[in-house]
C-alpha cells in the first residue's frame, strides 16, 4: 500500500528527485560562495563589496552557462515570453538590495545573529507559495507536516549553527539597525522567489531568466552605489583598481551563479515551499568552509562544538524530511490550476507551459553560434586576467580541506549537470 502511494506520488511529480538534487547542489555552491570573499580584508563599503560581487555574477553568467544553452535559444525564449523581462529585473533588484542589507547586518550584529534571521526567508517563501501559487494545497496532512517540520528544523539548525560561531557576544551600539537589516533581507529573499516561480509556471528556461536577472542585479547595484555611497567618490572606484583583491569577489560571484542556477532549477521542479529550505542548507557548507579551511572553531569549547554537531544533524534531518515530501496528484492538480491562470492572463499555450514545467523541451535544440564562443572566451579571459594579479592574503588556511571541499563541489556540479542533461536537456 505504502509503496503504491509512493509510486503515485512520484508519477505526479516526475522531477521531484531532480529538484531535490538541484536544491542540495545549490546549498553546497551557495555556501561556498562566501569563502573567496573572506580573502578581501581591506575596509571597503558594503555597497562596494556588493557591487563587485554582482559584477562577478554578471561576468560568470557568460562563462560556461552560455554553453548549456546558446544565446540563440535564450533570446528566442525571452522573446516568446516578454512579460517575464520585468519580473526577472525585479528579482535581480530584490537580490541586490537584500545582499547589501546582509552586509550591513553582518557589520552591526555579526554573522551568528544575522544569518539565522535572514534564513527565515523560507517561511516568507512558504507564505507566498501558499497564497499566490496554491502550493501545498491538497498536499495531505503527512506531506504538509513533513515540509513544515523540515522548514522549522532547518531554521532551528541555522540558529544553532549561528550561535556556534558566536565568540564575543558584546552588545553592538547599532544592534537594532542590524536586526532590521537582517529581517529586511529575509523579506526580500523570501519574496524574490515570487518572480522565480512566476517564470517557471510560464515555461521559461532558468538560464533565460538568470540572464535578465543579472542585468537587474547589476543595474540596481550601480544605482544604489551611486546614490547611497558617494557616487564617483565611492570606495567601489578604488576597489575596481585593486585587481589583487577584485578576483576574489569575482570568484565569489562565479560560485554564487552556479549555486543560483541550481536553486532556479530546484524552484522550477519543487516549487518555492520545498526549494528554499533545501537551498538554505548552504549554511552548513558555509560553516564547513569557515571551520575546516579558516579554522574558525579552533578555540571553540564543548558547548559550541555541541551546537555545531546538533545543528548539522538537525539540518540534515530537515532536508531529508523535505526531500521525501513529494507532491501527490491532488497537489499537482492545484499547481496546474496556477499554471492555467498564467496562461489565461498572458496568452500562453497551456500544453506547452505544462510540458516545460515537467522538464520537456518546447523548442528544438539550437546550435551554438560563433559569437557564443567569443562571449565565453571573453568572460573566461576576464577571470584569467584578474586571477593573474590576485594575491592570497596571509591568512592561515588548511589547503587539504580546500581540496576536499572543492572536490565535493565538483561532484555536486557533475551530478547536478548530468541529471539535468539526461532528464531535461537543461530545460
Amino acid at each position: 500500500m505504502a509503496s503504491s502511494q509512493k509510486t503515485a506520488a512520484a508519477a505526479a511529480n516526475p522531477q521531484h528527485m531532480l529538484g531535490v538534487l538541484c536544491g542540495l547542489a545549490a546549498g553546497a555552491w551557495l555556501g561556498a560562495a562566501e569563502a573567496p570573499t573572506k580573502l578581501v580584508t581591506a575596509g571597503f563599503s558594503p555597497f562596494a563589496i556588493s557591487l563587485c560581487m554582482v559584477a562577478g555574477v554578471f561576468a560568470a553568467r557568460w562563462t560556461f552557462p552560455t554553453l548549456m544553452k546558446g544565446t540563440d535559444f535564450v533570446f528566442s525564449d525571452i522573446a516568446s515570453k516578454p512579460h517575464l523581462i520585468v519580473w526577472a529585473l525585479l528579482a535581480g533588484a530584490l537580490w541586490a538590495v537584500a545582499n547589501t542589507l546582509t552586509v550591513f547586518a553582518i557589520r552591526d550584529v555579526g554573522l551568528a545573529t544575522a544569518f539565522p534571521l535572514w534564513n527565515t526567508n523560507s517561511l516568507i517563501g512558504l507564505l507566498w507559495g501558499c497564497l499566490l501559487f496554491r502550493e501545498m494545497r491538497g498536499a495531505g496532512a503527512r506531506t504538509t507536516s513533513k515540509v513544515i517540520f523540515g522548514t522549522l528544523a532547518i531554521i532551528a539548525a541555522a540558529i544553532m549553527l549561528g550561535f556556534s560561531t558566536l565568540h564575543d557576544p558584546g552588545a553592538s551600539p547599532h544592534a537594532v539597525r542590524g536586526l532590521a537589516a537582517a529581517a529586511g533581507a529575509s523579506l526580500m529573499w523570501g519574496t524574490m522567489y515570487v518572480p522565480y516561480r512566476k517564470a517557471y509556471l510560464s515555461g521559461m528556461n532558468p538560464l533565460s531568466f538568470v540572464t535578465i536577472f543579472t542585468f537587474g542585479e547589476l543595474g540596481t547595484m550601480l544605482a544604489l552605489t551611486w546614490f547611497f555611497d558617494g557616487g564617483a567618490h565611492s570606495s567601489a572606484m578604488q576597489l575596481i583598481h585593486s585587481r589583487q583583491v577584485l578576483f576574489w569577489l569575482f570568484l565569489g560571484g562565479f560560485v554564487w551563479v552556479i549555486g543560483d542556477l541550481f536553486q532556479q532549477f530546484a524552484t522550477k521542479y519543487l516549487g518555492i515551499s520545498r526549494g528554499i529550505p533545501l537551498s538554505n542548507t548552504n549554511q552548513l557548507w558555509g560553516l564547513a568552509w569557515g571551520a575546516l579551511v579558516f579554522g574558525e572553531l579552533a578555540g571553540a569549547d564543548k558547548l559550541h562544538l555541541g551546537l555545531v554537531a546538533g545543528g548539522s544533524l538537525l539540518m540534515i534531518f530537515g532536508a531529508l524530511a523535505i526531500s521525501t515530501a513529494s507532491a501527490g496528484a491532488n497537489e499537482m492538480s492545484r499547481r496546474d490550476e496556477a499554471l492555467q491562470r498564467e496562461c489565461d492572463r498572458y496568452g500562453l499555450d497551456y500544453q506547452e507551459a505544462l510540458k516545460a514545467q515537467n522538464g520537456g523541451e518546447t523548442k528544438g535544440p539550437r546550435a551554438r553560434r560563433w559569437w557564443d564562443w567569443v562571449i565565453v572566451t571573453a568572460a573566461v579571459g576576464l577571470f584569467a586576467w584578474l586571477a593573474a594579479d590576485a594575491v592570497v592574503p596571509p591568512l592561515a588556511m588548511n589547503w587539504g580541506w580546500v581540496a576536499v571541499l572543492c572536490a565535493i563541489l565538483l561532484v555536486a556540479l557533475a551530478a547536478g549537470c548530468w541529471a539535468l542533461w539526461t532528464r531535461t536537456r537543461f530545460s
Binding site: L94, V194, L224, F228
Partner: protein, 43 residues
Amino acid sequence: MRKLMNERQTTRSSIVRAVFTDIQFWVPVLVLACGILLLALIH
C-alpha cells in the same frame, strides 16, 4: 508595414496591461520599495 507596427504596439500595450493589473506583480514591487527605504534609512 504600418499594420505590422500597429499590431506590435497593441501586443506591447496588452502585455503591459496584463503585468500591471496582476496583483502578484505588486507584492514584490512593494517589498522592493520597503527594502530600498530601509537601506536609505540605515546606510
